[in-house]
Structures are given as structure tokens and as C-alpha cells.
Amino acid sequence: MEIFKIFFSKPSAKDVAKDRLKLILIHDRASISPDILDKIRDEIFNVLSKYVEIDSDDLDIRMTQVDNDNNESSPALIANIPIKNLKSRV
């Protein structure tokens, strides 16, 4: 009964809108402003410097999107931290 499938499986415009809105808000709210990202970078640098020697210029921290199981993308913070030397062991 193909006809019934057509009538019952199509989501309403309002449901489409609500889903799109939800995703848009998640993305918008998760985007970290550049100032805060800088603060995060500085603090991560300070913490890591206690244990490893790293170059502040090489410390790369940024916002990105990762795809999860449902094929939706969610925000993520990724870091690339080249280590020059381990500091002395405790």
C-alpha cells in the first residue's frame, strides 16, 4: 500500500523546521568565541608546560565538527601538541 506510506511517512514542515532549528542552535551555541579560545589555549599551555616542554607557537587548538553515529555532526575541540622534551620525572 504505497499510498499510505506517502501519507504517513512524510514529516510535516513544522517538524522539519523544529529538527533543523535544534541542530542550528546546537552548532551556534557550541561555537566558542576567539577570545575564549585564546584563553583556553593559554591555560592548556600553562598546565602542559608543568609536565612537558612545548613550544607555544606550535600549540594548535581549534574548534571543529565530528560526525557521530547518527551521521550528525557535533562540535569538538581538537588539539595538536608537539612535545619537544619530557620534563624530569617525579
Binding site: 514542515a13 513544522k14 517538524d15 523546521a17 532549528l21 542552535l25
Partner: protein, 266 residues
């Protein structure tokens, strides 16, 4: 000391100025002393909605630049003696005012008026900053559309970041028929998305266009549904508990009253 309220939204064209004009007029009709400030320097329109565009002599910019006294720039409403408009300039722009200057004007007005209502322009730049700084509370106007809700979310975030957490939502231009048919976001969809309390729902109505044309805020019309909605919002602002209007009645009643008309209710 009066209360200052900013009417904001983020998105343009959702009904902030209409809301300002109507809530202001409604509060004045309830006996409150009200002043409306047009925050949209360069693109002013509050004067048009109030029907006072021909009476502008001095503006907010003149007050700030000390070319006139604040009292001289206030225009008394045509209908209510306790309602005033502080218009802004059409030939300057929003960067010609600093938040500190705006704050001073609002603080001075709060000493004389029960309610100081600031019509915030669209956007989140200087105009927004200036309008929000002097406000004790905010009314966020949203249309039932993804774009408007998204922008309002950003604005609410900015208000929270500034410590202005006394904010409430007005859903404007709700088309009840469309929400019933599943074609438009409804109030619950919007409340689910935004972290904010609801203070009013105003139905979409072409009569608002007519009231803008005439320069007579729709609250002045007894039988108008959007007018009633704005009057209810004004009552809630002063602390009265008013149940939300049932917007579903509108079309059925109109149908039957149309039939009655045909059968000779003269």
C-alpha cells in the same frame, strides 16, 4: 524610580517597534507615565507608528550633544497625556551615541517616568549595545520561524552574558491556522528551543498594516485580537496574571458572524 524595558530580537522586521508602540500605549491607557525611546538611529520608525512623525523638533542625538534639554525633545502623544516619545535622528547613525551617554538619558528618564521603553534596533552591534545598557528587563520578540528563533537565541545569550537575566519572550505573528496544519512552528516548539519564559503571543493580522498606515497603535481598537494580545502583555508587565488568549476561536467566530451579517443583523 521607574523601570526600563528594552524590546529586542536580533532579527529585523519581527515587530519590535510595533510592540514598543503598542505596549507603551497600553501602559499609558492604564494610567502609567510612559516614555518610548527610539533606539534605531538612522532608520527611525517609532515616530511613524505613533503618528508623531510631523512633531519631531529635537532628537535623542540633540539631547546627547547638548543642543537642547531632554524635556524639549520629548513629544507628547496625540491621545494620552502621560505618554511621550523620545525620537532619534534620521540623518545620523548608531555610532554617534555611546552606551554611557544612552545610560545617562535612560537613568534621567527613569526618575520621571513609571516605564521607559527602549525600542532596540535589529542587530547585535552598537545600536543593540546602546539600547540594552540602560535596561532593567528585556522583552525578546520572536516570529515562529527558524531564522528569528536562531537570532533570538544569540541575543538571549548576549543578554545573559551582560547580566540582564530578567527577560521574557513575545511570540509575534503567530498564524494559528498554519500551526494547526503543521506548517508553522508553534509556541511550544519555540519555548523548547529557547531558555526563556513566555509573556505573550500576538497573532498575525493584516490590520497591523492598517494601524501603521494610520499611525494609530492597534491596542486602541477594542475588538482587535493583536490589540488584545498587546493589552494583555502590558497587564502582565505590571504584574497582573492574565490567561493566554485562545487564538483558535478567531476564524470560527468570524465565519458565523459573517453568516449572521448576510441574514440581516443590521
Amino acid at each position: 524610580m521607574g523601570e526600563s524595558i528594552v524590546i529586542t530580537s536580533g532579527k529585523g522586521g519581527v515587530g519590535k517597534t510595533t510592540t514598543t508602540a503598542n505596549i507603551g500605549t497600553a501602559l499609558a491607557s492604564m494610567g502609567k507615565k510612559v516614555v518610548l525611546i527610539d533606539g534605531d538611529t538612522g532608520l527611525r520608525n517609532l515616530d511613524v507608528l505613533m503618528g508623531l512623525e510631523n512633531r519631531i523638533v529635537f532628537t535623542l542625538i540633540d539631547v546627547i550633544e547638548e543642543k537642547c534639554k531632554l524635556k524639549q525633545a520629548l513629544i507628547k502623544d496625540k491621545r494620552f497625556n502621560n505618554l511621550f516619545l523620545l525620537p532619534t535622528a534620521q540623518t545620523r547613525d548608531k555610532n554617534d551615541i555611546t552606551p554611557e551617554q544612552m545610560l545617562q538619558v535612560v537613568e534621567t528618564l527613569k526618575e520621571e517616568f513609571d516605564y521607559v521603553i527602549i525600542d532596540c534596533p535589529a542587530g547585535i552591534e552598537q545600536g543593540f549595545e546602546n539600547s540594552v545598557i540602560g535596561a532593567d528587563r528585556a522583552l525578546v520578540v520572536v516570529n515562529p520561524e527558524i531564522t528569528s528563533v536562531r537570532d533570538s537565541d544569540r541575543v538571549i545569550g548576549k543578554l545573559d552574558a551582560k547580566g540582564l537575566e530578567n527577560h521574557e519572550l513575545i511570540v509575534n505573528r503567530l498564524n494559528y491556522e498554519m500551526t494547526k496544519r503543521g506548517e508553522m512552528l508553534d509556541v511550544n516548539d519555540i519555548l523548547d528551543s529557547l531558555a526563556i519564559k513566555l509573556i505573550g503571543v500576538v497573532p498575525d493580522d493584516r490590520s497591523i498594516t492598517i494601524s501603521t498606515n494610520k499611525g494609530e497603535p492597534i491596542v486602541l481598537e477594542e475588538k482587535s485580537k493583536p490589540g488584545q494580545a498587546f493589552r494583555d502583555i502590558a497587564k502582565r508587565i505590571i504584574g497582573e496574571e492574565v490567561p493566554f488568549m485562545d487564538l483558535s476561536e478567531s476564524t470560527t467566530i468570524d465565519f458565523w458572524s459573517a453568516i449572521k451579517k448576510v441574514f440581516g443583523k443590521k
